[in-house]
Symmetry: C2
Subunit: 207 residues, 2 copies
């Protein structure tokens, strides 16, 4: 089998399994159910994945890959910290709302039991993203403070009361929570949501 086909069918399995896990619950979905939904034999499925735990881990790992490739990597090249943060907000919201990947990425937030060693690997990748975002927040705040120092009297300096860490968690909460309320037919879509969440992060609700 050419490598492309193998990769495609693995991703196809992960997407189908993710959808079943969300519809029926992880425990209530068997390997047989996954195979049947894919019109695969049980052997065909086990050829790709040896257990349901492995599928769940690979779904979560794939979700982190998507974040790496479509959010982190593209913004790394942006020199200006503020522009980098604006791009990150936009790209992360686009990933979360992507119809193709939504079933995969949403699984990151379900606290299904995963064997400790696998859970640890996912958590390590999540932590890397949080640290990346935390450092970016710190850079943006520092950059703005420099600008402010040049133009404003000392008494009016930005106080920096919101720590980079709290800001990072706040932004992740805003974005990762979208799946809880998002409706494909609703008013709030990527193009309306991205500028509003960006303005809120940069200037609060009075932006």
């Amino acid at each position: 089998m050419p490598r492309e086909t193998v990769v495609d069918s693995r991703q196809e399995i992960l997407r189908t399994a993710a959808r079943l896990f969300q519809q029926r619950g992880y425990d209530a979905t068997s390997m047989n159910d996954v195979a049947a939904a894919l019109k695969l034999s049980k052997g065909g499925l086990y050829h790709h994945f040896q257990s349901k735990d492995e599928i769940l881990f690979e779904i979560m790992n794939h979700a982190m890959e998507i974040t790496q490739e479509r959010v982190i990597n593209p913004v790394r090249g942006i020199a200006d910290p503020e522009e980098r943060l604006r791009a990150l907000i936009r790209l992360h919201i686009e990933v979360v709302l992507s119809p193709r990947d939504r079933e995969i990425t949403v699984m990151l937030h379900e606290n299904h039991p995963l064997p400790p060693a696998l859970r640890k690997r996912i958590n390590a990748r999540k932590k890397d993203y949080i640290h990346f975002l935390e450092n970016l927040m710190a850079e943006v705040q520092k950059e703005v403070q420099k600008t402010v120092q040049k133009t404003v009297q000392p008494a009016q300096f930005a106080k920096g009361k919101v720590s980079p860490r709290a800001a990072a968690f706040a932004l992740l909460g805003m974005i990762n929570w979208i799946y809880q309320w998002y409706k494909p037919e609703g008013e709030l879509q990527a193009q309306t949501l991205i500028p509003q969440f960006t303005d809120l992060i940069f200037g609060g609700i009075f932006a």
Copy 2:
């Protein structure tokens, strides 16, 4: 049995069940497991709840009661919209971080399958809270715009680019996401988190 005792033991059952559901997963936890953890006979448990679905529904319903009693009701009496929003942020974060209720309230966000009629009732209560918050955001924005109009030139008016609805979802995301990263031994606790999230909502990351 005096009414107080009945209520207490129902809440005790809900708390224990919520903890088991989170530790083992909803599907993997049986009514027998719940009864055993409470040192109740299966009959004793069924005296209070007829099914696992009923327990899950009552956990979620109780979580919404807690939100009603400890967040919505106390803030209703606050005349000034900005103060009302500040109080809501503080009280909601306190509920989410309350060691006693955390196991109950976190269950609101697990997308376990619930029979449609019961799911509908929980969703209706969630929607009520979102609308309450959305209206409050609109009031706060309006109030501030009035003040701004008195003191600032027209060109500098707050533009109100963040809609009350997007602001409501953003705040709910920030707060309801806390359970995903919160650590009792971590630096970010209620007293440090409340002012930072409040500042971020009112003024963004440069507040």
